[in-house]
Amino acid sequence: MRLLEFQAKRLFQERGIPVPKGTLVRSSQDLEGLRYPVLLKAQVPVGGRGKAGAIRTVWSAQDAATALRELLKTSVKGCPIRAVLAEERIEASRELYFAVLIDRANRTPLLLASASGGIEIEEVARRDPTRVARIPVDLCLGPAEHSVRSLASRLELGDRLGEFRTIVERAFGIFRDLDATLVEINPLAVTAEGFLALDAKLLLDDKATFRHADLFRTLAEEGRALAPQEKGPAESLAEAAGLTYVGLDGDVGLISDGAGTGMLTLDLVQDAGGRAANFCELGALANAEGMREALGAVLANAAVKAVLVSLIGGLTRMDEIAEGIAAYLGEHAIHIPLVVRMAGTKEEEGRATLRAIGVETFDDLPAAVREAVLRAKEGRCRSS
């Protein structure tokens, strides 16, 4: 889960990382009482807001009202702007970069810092890798004193070491206590009064929801209310069911019981001259109920002209999956060709269940892909 900037800053403030004074603005009434100049920052859970013109500096109440009206009519990368953070403008003597994240290749938490703040760290690293300092941290021990001093020295912080240490320790505390996968402060402003997080990016691990059920649920609901994502009916159904679903712009609906076989099927559809309408993987829901939900979701996309179910079960049992397909077909009369490729654990039982309701299955994946692509093409011809 990616938090909105203002949600992340609220958590920063609660945990002692200073942030600029700000208020959340949803309509022009909320602008009253601000002292200018003010930064208006669109609250959308995507990067590149600056480049998209979704962060504005305004110098008067009139400017602010105009800018707000414009922002609330805009979308950033498909996210309509519904809320704006109005924040005091900070004069910084220096802007640094600091983050705590997971170094996946080395399986350890990592501190990342650079004297070049304010731009994307990937960009800094591309231009000059020596400008990015990386120090691994032991998850239990936390940031070692010498690591903090080493970073401070690389950042040429001089007598501001103590203030920097506080930021590092508190950011790591957020990382550890909230099961974060990224705590990023970019830029981290150095001012005469102290260090301030001018921006905040916080990614929380959804897999750890069981440890933070109330907090994660509250944050997610708030995020959805303030930054609703535009979703089609298929995506909404899949999300409600807990399925993996990626919308694409073709007409072959795909369902697979594994990520790898799903990606392979997607590639094969493309190579066969077809275009997938989606990628949908059952994942942890590889059972009868998950299969039934997946068919409902994929078929909710009106662009779908044929559905290809690509199954090769190990952990997934084909007898259960077949029950799910049979249940869906028992409840719904579908007029779209359904192509099923079934192999793996309990495949005979699964095949028998489907044969009994008149659904023949394929054993060969490329043959099933060709059939689905062909049937989608026929569907296109009929409808045009």
Partner: protein
């Protein structure tokens, strides 16, 4: 020979009394795996398909050594179960469970390293040396004993490839699923090193996917250290950047993480790169008797 497991491997199943654990224990037993015990806290004294169940690993160890454990323990208890296996010095821990929090994995993997336990996974189908031992959930019928070493992030993709190879008479020495990530106990590189040393493995099939940089590390290792033929397939060529393709690790975030870039790196390292399982089979046929 084979890597990591063989006919002698004594296997423990953690979470054996759950629906998945008990079913898969049966399938493994039918395959011939020596499952010596199961563990589920609170279910000690029961038996699953004739396999004795204990409350604690230390109780299971009292009746004989264990070489490998396969864990089906649900995500929220997976860390405790893994730490128990590591503290009991079980050399091989296969984490079938997916959805384990990243911080728990960091703790498990770090602790395992300090205690000398090899972790395979998480979110893995496990591993199998066909005809000898299966510590995993691979469908039995797609497997055949032979000399092709298979390493895969995705379980299902490895079943696809093994099915095709087996049906044409090309068997496997060992099939290792390393898991969908985005954290891994054992990497492609680690498995490549084991296959390179294994006299029974003559050809290596590397099955990767978009996202992350592991295939680049594998390519660098292949260029330096691997003398056996490596055939590579990277799925997700048609995956849009920025989308999570089912596996936590299958998310294209940087330029080097696309299928094209990975295939190019592997090709440059001397691998035979393919676009689908059928092309893997064609190349293996070309290698002929060498890979049978």
């Amino acid at each position: 020979m084979s890597i990591l497991v063989n006919e002698q491997t004594r296997v423990l199943v953690q979470g054996i009394t759950g629906k998945v654990g008990s079913f898969q224990a049966l399938v493994m037993k039918e395959y011939g795996t020596r499952i010596v015990a199961g563990v589920t806290p609170g279910k000690g004294g029961e038996a699953v398909h004739g396999i004795p169940v204990y409350d604690l690993i230390e109780e299971a160890l009292a009746s004989g050594p264990v070489d490998a454990t396969l864990s089906f323990v649900p995500a929220r208890f997976a860390k405790d179960a893994a730490i128990e296996a590591i503290e009991n010095r079980i050399p091989l821990l296969v984490l079938s469970t997916g959805e384990i929090p990243d911080h728990d994995l960091l703790a498990i993997l770090h602790y395992a390293e300090t205690r000398g336990t090899r972790v395979i996974g998480p979110d893995t189908p496990g591993l199998v040396s066909p005809g000898k031992c299966k510590v995993g959930v691979h469908p039995n019928r797609v497997l055949r004993r032979g000399s092709i070493g298979v390493v895969s992030k995705s379980g299902a993709l490895s079943y696809e490839v093994c099915k095709l190879l087996s049906e044409s008479g090309f068997g496997q020495s060992t099939v290792v699923g390393i898991g969908g990530g985005p954290l891994w106990g054992t990497t492609q590189r680690d498995v490549l090193a084991l296959f390179e040393k294994d006299p029974e493995t003559r050809v290596i099939v590397l099955l990767g996917e978009v996202g992350g940089t592991m295939e680049h590390e594998a390519a660098a290792f292949i260029r330096e250290k691997v003398t056996k033929p490596v055939i590579a397939l990277i799925v997700g060529r048609a995956a849009p950047p920025g989308a999570q393709m089912g596996h936590a690790g299958a998310l294209i975030e940087g330029e080097g993480e696309t299928a094209e870039k990975k295939l190019a790196a592997l090709k440059e390292a001397g691998c035979h790169v393919t676009r689908n399982p059928t092309e893997i089979l064609s190349f293996i046929k070309k290698l002929g008797g060498k890979s049978r």
